[in-house]
Every structure is written in structure tokens, then in C-alpha cells.
Symmetry: C2
Subunit: 208 residues, 2 copies
């Protein structure tokens, strides 16, 4: 029995950790990042001490909960950059990133949040962001993307995408496809392009 206890404890701890992460993803998706840690603990059926042992801050919990989506985003941008036609690559990124976010609204909230201490998450985001800006530059040079597009417009599109409310995850993905397609048409170079109103600096939420 004494040799078994540590093993069983480790296994319990792993179960707790996974359950906390699953609950956090669902709760953040439903209600944004403003949910109290106490509420996450309650829903995951663990004590606050257990929650804080695994995730000392909400920032740690958020970045761990959405690490996988962050990596998926980066891969999408890499895929777009690898397309020999930069405009086609750009469209792929806008479509697929909207789709990814439609499946998980909590992720949109996480992506547009500032994480002063979550070095890895912020670094991954910066990297994906730099690559997307490069893809946009190439898509403009190739003549597909309108010249007054700015990379921040993607943040605006993702915030907007997360505002679309539907009755099911399937409908959310379908709506995000239609939404992305409309926007992509608006982003295309057109025979006579009226200039867009100026871009607006969009804020990151500070998660403390």
C-alpha cells in the first residue's frame, strides 16, 4: 500500500489538472476570462488550494488552457506562408483562424489579452503575429490584398467573429465561414477601391 500511494496521488493530481483545464476552457468560452478562480475550482470540484497548486495565477491557467489553440494558430500562419500564392495563403489564414475561434470563444478572449508574466504564450503570439504581417505584406505585393489593409484588422475581425452568437458549435463554424468570406471579399483589391476609414488601435485586456 505504501508504494502505491504516491503513484495514486500522482494520478489524482494529473486527473485534477486535466479536469481543471477542461472546466477552465468551457467556462472561459461561456463567460469570458472574468470568471473568478474560486468559481473554476467549484466547477472542477476541487478545493481552491488544489487549483492554486496547479495554477498559481489566472494567467497561468488561461495560457495553459489555450496553449494548444495558440500552437494551432501558429501552424495555420505557417501553412499560409508556405502557399506559393500569398493571396490564397492569406485567405486560408483568415478563414481558418475565424473557424478556430468560432469553435472556442474563450480563445479569442485569451488571444486579445495582455499577459504580462506569461512569457511563452506572449512570445508565441508575437511570433505568429510577425509571420502574419509578413504574409499580408506579400499578399499586397502580389496584388491580391488591398494596400490599406493593416495586420491589426485581423484582431478587429477576430473580436467581431467572437461576437456572433449561434445555437450550436456547428452553426458557429458555418456563420464564421460566411462572415470570413464576406470580409475577404472586402479585403480584395477591386477595380475601384474606395479607401477604408483609418484603422483603430485595439486594446489588449490586462489579465492580472
Amino acid at each position: 500500500m505504501t508504494t502505491r500511494l504516491p503513484h495514486s496521488l500522482r494520478s489524482d493530481a494529473r486527473d485534477n489538472r486535466e479536469r481543471i483545464l477542461a472546466v477552465a476552457r468551457t467556462t472561459f468560452a461561456e463567460r469570458g476570462l472574468d470568471v473568478a478562480m474560486r468559481e473554476i475550482a467549484r466547477r472542477a470540484d476541487v478545493g481552491p488550494a488544489t487549483l492554486y497548486r496547479h495554477f498559481p495565477t489566472k494567467e497561468a491557467l488561461v495560457t495553459e488552457a489555450f496553449g494548444e489553440q495558440m500552437r494551432a494558430c501558429t501552424s495555420l500562419v505557417d501553412e499560409g506562408l508556405a502557399d506559393p500564392d500569398p493571396w490564397r495563403g492569406f485567405c486560408l489564414v483568415v478563414e481558418k483562424v475565424c473557424e478556430l475561434h468560432a469553435q472556442d470563444r474563450g480563445f479569442t478572449a485569451a488571444l486579445v489579452s495582455a499577459f504580462p508574466r506569461a512569457i511563452d504564450f506572449a512570445a508565441n503570439r508575437e511570433q505568429a503575429w510577425g509571420k502574419f504581417a509578413e504574409l499580408a505584406r506579400r499578399a499586397k505585393a502580389a496584388g491580391g490584398l488591398r494596400p490599406d489593409f493593416v495586420p491589426d484588422d485581423l484582431i478587429m475581425v477576430l473580436m467581431a467573429n467572437s461576437g456572433i452568437r449561434t445555437t450550436s458549435p456547428t452553426a458557429a463554424v458555418a456563420a464564421s465561414r460566411r462572415f470570413a468570406a464576406l470580409l475577404i471579399q472586402g479585403m480584395r483589391t477591386q477595380p475601384a477601391i474606395p479607401p477604408l476609414p483609418p484603422p483603430v488601435r485595439l486594446p489588449l485586456t490586462v489579465v492580472t
Copy 2:
């Protein structure tokens, strides 16, 4: 004194009513319609009994708080319909309605809510909706609006518009202008229009 009391009471009641409505607008804008009536009463510094005397249900409060915006919406659609160029009228409505909603996110939540008992509010909405559908029909017939646009797309656009988060009301309006302009470009008939993915039925929230 006895002749004054009723007057003063009426005046207090009117002040309370106005204060409740102002607080409700601000609170709904900040936090959506899910705020408890008790919370509205607390913020307006009145007792629950006073709140319920003025507004027996949350539905009554919501529809009264946003009655003015609803009338503004209807006027906008009338203005669009009056334009001899239906496509220009259509663009005006999309731009101005996005702007109106950017100034008041609570109104977007109210507009996409079902109000089973708020006959006037729902009737006004239906009327504005029918007129917008007519404007879209004319804008298609005139060749400006792409043929696969559906009036429900405006609901999608308004939900999306309300997801854009900015640092100030001025920035919210500026962002909504850029957003509306991108979408309008996407809604235009273009030399070669790739068909949009199919529209998605978007739900009304039931406010009880």
C-alpha cells in the same frame, strides 16, 4: 404642505424612473442583458419595490431603455429607402446602424433578443426589419448588392460589430466605420463574385 406632497412625490418618481433607465442603459451596455434586476436597483440607489413599480419585468425595463435607439434605427432605414439610389441607401443604413450600435452595445443585445411580451418593441423591430429587407431587394435589383446577400446577414454584422472592443466610445465608432466599410466592399457586386457560404439562422435570446 399637503398640496405640495403629491407634486414632490410625482417629481421623485420621475427622477427615480429616469435614473433607473440611465443606470439600466449603462449596465446593459457594460455587461449585457444578464444583469439581475436587484443589481440595477442597487446601482440606481432605489429599493427593489420601487424598481418593480416602474418596471414590473426586465423585459419592460429593457424595451423602455432602448426605445429611443429602436426609433433611431427605424428612421435610418426610412432614410435609406428614401434615397433614389438604393445601393447608396443600403450602404448608408449598414454604416449608420453599425455606428449607432457601436455607441451602445446594450442596444445590440436588446435588438437580438426575443421579447415575448414587449409588443411595441417587437412590432417596431419587425417593421424596421421589413423595410430593410425591401431596401436590400431594391439594392440587388439596381445591381449594387450581391444577389446572395440575405437580410439576416445584417444581424450577423451587428452581432459581430458588438464584439469589437475598444478603449473609448470615439474609438468604438471609428472601428465600426472601418468594419462596416470592409463589409460593404464585400457585399458589393463584383466583376467575379465567388458565392458566399450559406447563411446561418441566428437565434434570438429569450428575455423572461
